[in-house]
Amino acid sequence: MNNFVQVFIFGILSGGIYGLVSVGLTLIFGVLKLVNFAHGEFLMLAMYLSYWSFKFFSIDPYAGAILTVILMFCFGYFIYNILMKPILYEPHVVQIFATLALSMILQNVALLFFKADFRNVRTAYSLSVLNIGWFKLSSPNLVAFVIAVAAAISLYIFLKTTDIGKAMRAISQNDRAARLMGINIDIIYMFTYCIGVALVGLAGVVLVPIYSIYPTVGSSFVNPAFVCVVLGGLGSVPGAVLGGLTIGIVESLTGFYIGAEFQQAAYFIVFLIILIIRPQGFFGEKEEII
């Protein structure tokens, strides 16, 4: 029984991270109606940023978090204006392949310049473990979880209370009406995209003490992230977090009770199950054919 709880808790902690990764994705999809296949690569870039600041300037990942997030925000601005803006109103084919291409480009740039070696950041607390009762919690995991939840809650409050947040929600529900109400859609689109990238950048930062860094690390996270988004309901922030927790728990339990090799299959199976049972996810709307 102890094992179960331990595994379960680990699942929750890693689920928080999945949630953080997914929250940016669902936001971008909800507002811009754009699927960002390069999401994982932004994660990877943030991780490398954190790594290099640690290696060359001895900046602790957490300390440098704000800088990294701001840099990612700016990078998002750059990418938005170059690639995203032109394809916003294009058919799905174009959007999918354009973001897929971006993902390939970023991955290979990383491969070219950083080489394929696995990198790790070892800090004082990397291996520290918190003992609560019978359970052991890895500190970096716990910190990641706390940051993830804090970020998600802040985002939720932001969306509900601020004008920009309301504008974002309005656009996600009906972009034409929002435009007619005087909302400057283009600015909001850009802002949303940058926030989405910044969020996944934050996820990258909290992952650095936990996970190895290599050019294709993004794909390990982006696939489950997409599943979280679908699970939670497209465009729903609380949904993405809940979806993340679910995936984290399922993955953790699968890894322990069935076998580590099947962890990957786990999120795909979950994906298939949602599609069959409840395609709109936790908080999404049921879509009629027309």
């Binding site: 799905h92 084919v93 174009v94 959007q95 999918i96 390939m104 991955q107 696939n223 997409f226």
Partner: protein, 334 residues
Amino acid sequence: MFYFYQKVFLRYLIWLAMGFLPFILKSEYYKDCLVLTLLWAGVAMGWNILGGYAGQLSIGHAAFFGMGAYVSTLLYMNYGLSPWIGMLIGGLMAGGFAFLLGLITLRLRGPFFVLATIAFAEVIRISAISWRSLTRGSLGILIPFNLGFWNMIWRGKDAYIWLTLVYMLLVYIVCRTIESRKFGYYLVALRENNPAALALGIDTAKMKARAAFISAFITAIGGSIYAQYIMFVEPSTVFGIMCSVQMSLIAIIGGLGIAGGPIFGAFLLIPLSTFFRGALTKYSGLNGLVYGFVLVFVILFMREGLLPKISELWERWGNIYYNIIKKRKHILDK
């Protein structure tokens, strides 16, 4: 209208020319290039059935390619079954998976369908790596060099050129047949406008699943041929995302939803990629980088593909030329 006949004539000319290629090319390097080009043309045409005609973009077709490769190889290595039969079994298995997946992923809109296909291929790839007792995992399987027609193993590359040429031709014929029949019309209809297709009596779910089956079958056969040519199968090449992307890239560049499009795309892309792979091995990642940029360029500026663009330019120039001729005749007649 005179350029309509030109087009038909040109088409047959190209097929004839391709038939002569095995005799023209002498160097091993060019022959290897040709085999791969013809093979990928066929595989991409298979992909095109689902991705081009039906508009269901799959970036996970490597799952079927690899299935074909592994099934025929494992049956050959463990039971001595001829790859000619093994590839059909692989094809049916891939088709079956595709059909089921097609039915399940019905409700997924554009990008999420793509995701499902990517995820599927990933799961299959990782399963192949993990199931070491069956597949020898990342080590891969080396196929012993036993010559013979029934083993689909020949000395030299000429036989493979014929093999892949026939494969490509057959796939092309399948595509053209589908194109002109009810099934083809229905696929394009559901791609262009799904609700309208439903309103006209088309069972879009069944059509998509059927297209997935055919597409996966063709791709898997390509995978088997690939295995027998390279004589080595391992998960990251045959199940990898680069494999999936290459298939779709060839079809997109060449012309989505056009039977001959992928052929054009393959002849353009494969020799280039083979060259890059050789010339740039020092810089790992450059291959993928170039691919990425080419993809962005094509998708932003020539979304329908190169072949339609060239066709369009051809028609436009043909028109101008035609009008000039007409004017000249007019003046002469006066």
